[in-house]
């Protein structure tokens, strides 16, 4: 294993049925992973959040999706995330921006999840290939 040095920090990979129970299961597994990989508490909270937003969206809204998966690959500066599902084509990043300055009466309850994902990650991109939705992004380890 010549790559052993680069893999000092373990990665994470899970593929689960597209159900809400799986979302809770994923959260528990990610918390255990963050502890094992000694990921900073703030970064771990962001990792949980991004994973939940995307997974819950698939579990609740993607009719026909049977599974979703999350892969986390630690790099020097960031965690690289890839989230996939086999639901109908859907680009979560196509959603409009949330108006965070609006008064309480005008605040809508929708769209907050993808807003958080956008703000917490870098280089978020969506692609559809081979019947799979793939959202890739990176989560900075500092800041």
């Amino acid at each position: 294993m010549g790559d052993a040095k680069q893999l000092a920090q373990p990665g994470f990979q899970r593929r689960l049925p597209a159900t809400l129970e799986s979302v809770a299961q994923l959260m528990d597994a990610l918390e255990a992973y963050a502890e094992e990989a000694e990921i900073d508490m703030r970064v771990a909270a962001r990792l949980n959040l991004v994973a939940e937003e995307v997974a819950a969206n698939v579990a609740m809204h993607a009719a026909g999706a049977t599974w979703f998966s999350l892969a986390v690959t630690p790099g020097a500066q960031a965690l690289d995330l890839v989230i996939e599902d086999d639901g109908p084509e859907y680009d979560p990043l196509a959603r409009g921006e949330v108006d965070t300055e609006a008064a309480i009466e005008d605040r809508d309850v929708g769209g907050l999840g993808v807003h958080l994902v956008r703000k917490l990650t870098r280089d978020a991109r969506y692609e559809r290939a081979g019947g799979i939705n793939r959202l890739s992004c990176s989560l900075p380890l500092a800041g």
């Binding site: 809400l20 979302v23 809770a24 959260m27 508490m41 703030r42 909270a45 962001r46 949980n48 959040l49 939940e52 937003e53 819950a56 579990a59 609740m60 949330v98 108006d99 965070t100 300055e101 609006a102 008064a103 309480i104 009466e105 605040r107 309850v109 907050l112 999840g113 807003h115 958080l116 703000k119 917490l120």
Partner: protein, 107 residues
């Protein structure tokens, strides 16, 4: 999510313990809206280390219902990751946050 009810001054305090996320949103919403039927509510989030957008939606609904009913709704004890989520979603501008229950009760 464990939700315990107590009081501070004339307001009800809902002490939340756990993750406020997709899995716990419905239960938390029912509890908070139920308590708001009795008057002002302070949600103590000191033992909540994680709030997702599903959790934010619950807090927004509670704040909106309070506004309609002329009651108060505020949060206390925001942990750093929760505060961060509040700030980037603009919730710090629409839901009053206090350091302590006493400050929230006096507001």
């Amino acid at each position: 999510m464990e939700i315990t009810e107590t009081t501070e001054g004339s307001k009800t305090v809902a002490v939340l313990d756990g993750r406020l996320d997709t899995a716990t949103a419905a239960q938390t919403e029912a509890a908070l809206l139920g308590l708001l039927g009795k008057g002002g509510v302070i949600a103590d989030l000191a033992n909540v280390r994680y709030v997702s957008s599903a959790g934010l939606r619950v807090l927004l609904k509670a704040a909106k219902q309070a506004k309609t009913a002329g009651a108060s709704f505020s949060v206390v004890g925001l942990q750093p990751p929760v505060r961060e989520v509040f700030e980037i979603s603009g919730f710090d501008k629409i839901i009053p946050a206090f350091a302590t229950r006493a400050e929230a009760a006096a507001a």
